[in-house]
Symmetry: C2
Subunit: 305 residues, 2 copies
Amino acid sequence: MSLQLTILGCHSATPRVNAHPTAQVLQIKNHNFLIDCGEGTQVQMRKYKISFAKIKHIFISHLHGDHFFGLIGLISTFGLLNREKELHIYGPVGLKKIIQLQLEISNSRAGFPIVFHELKSTKSELIYEDKKVTVHTIPLNHRIYTNGFLFTEKLSLRKLNIKEVKSYPEIERCDYYNLKKGKDFVRNDGSIIENEKLTLPPRKPLSYAFCSDTSYTPEIIPLIRNVDMLYHESTFLTDKEELAIKTGHSTAFQAGKIAALAQVKILLLGHYSNRYRVLPAFQKEAQKVFQNTLLSVEGSTFEVE
Amino acid sequence: MSLQLTILGCHSATPRVNAHPTAQVLQIKNHNFLIDCGEGTQVQMRKYKISFAKIKHIFISHLHGDHFFGLIGLISTFGLLNREKELHIYGPVGLKKIIQLQLEISNSRAGFPIVFHELKSTKSELIYEDKKVTVHTIPLNHRIYTNGFLFTEKLSLRKLNIKEVKSYPEIERCDYYNLKKGKDFVRNDGSIIENEKLTLPPRKPLSYAFCSDTSYTPEIIPLIRNVDMLYHESTFLTDKEELAIKTGHSTAFQAGKIAALAQVKILLLGHYSNRYRVLPAFQKEAQKVFQNTLLSVEGSTFEVE
């Protein structure tokens, strides 16, 4: 099992023919989480073979158009495709009103249940949890209320050391689940076979942090420390640092600094301003402080194992 | 001078990689009128080199997503590009609320004046007029309140027959405008040179009617009679006539019938359902009743002279 991130769009502001606004799909523990949904996301999903049916949770960081203008179209398309499955949408207060008004005025119903989870806390909060994964908000610092999202696998069950297990005929199949949960095996006579003899530790849980849009905000570091992959916006290069401050964005160098301070494994840059035509300069700038920096590119998939 | 129509999208319902929802730009008498604005229209405009700055009037037929979901993104982009010019938007009641809510919640202002002309009449009405052109609504018959639009050039001034004019030394440059307006030339002695001797008739005014979405509605014929070009939706072929009736759409054959009854010059089909992969069948079907039928195709420009 791995964690896979597919980039559908990684540019800021206005969409262009080959530069789409923010949208990405995270595959983690059999989930397909859609993160942000700029205009044209549904077409990018078709282009890069992302199954519509598998999307059950959509996370919207903030209500600037390049992060959510594609949502109403995607919802409409789900409806036209006769979706029945529930859709959960996590985003700032106001999003529900925008979507509902458009459905109402167009005399449409989505035709499937939409559950809005409206966010307003400025502190990190747990917004999704199941047996295998949690999602927390990462409060960011932008011109309007904005959250990043931290996706974390839960610790899996231990793995059976099957050769060892089978060497004890008294252990039956129905005992396996307790062994995976870490329990010692207790024989009928009360004697014990220690769990560590019978199982191997589970794979370390993987984690992914999505941080867009935000000014340089070291306050997020405790929340994203040691994540396996960090997507951090880098709208500008240092030549436009003042503009970054003014507009609530970061430079590639600042993204690198956050990655270094948080000791993440991989930094993924994105949300490039349209003023830059050549992207390797972003990587080069971040690598001054954080070597393991990659550039997000439309249609590319980044895998963490 | 001619009338030029550029197709940005001509498919129905959900946008796909090479099948965009309705949007077209009409060039008529130095205007660039944007008609409908499905998701992705701004990217299609960039792709087909339509100047953003020249768009001053946008006409929205109805509030189904495939006809207006691209509008908020286009307005935002106009704002990001520091537009200052007024933008006029003509569309059903409700559109203003949708756009304003999104601007308000995203804490944005367009930054330029937007004038909404909200439509609710079920009778044809004059919604735009200047010295050279008029625009009337064409009430259509769809699942929700829908208008087509009739764009008509006004009769131009007469053309000077310059050779003839110059043969009369008593006619001066300052007299030309009155001659173009059709007035006779009156000499100082009261004698007259008849206008017909001095001028040629102006070109016949051109007209374009846009009719999407609608069921087969012969009631529109008096409004579109003799137009130079009629765009009439043809969502389905006759094999799906029942579905057309149920969904408030037309077949290609019905579009052909309307064109024939209204004695238009050219019929342009579009709004094809995604269920059809091959389009020539639409043309063939309409041509059973109306020979001069063309298929709209993304990126193509149709010119009427």
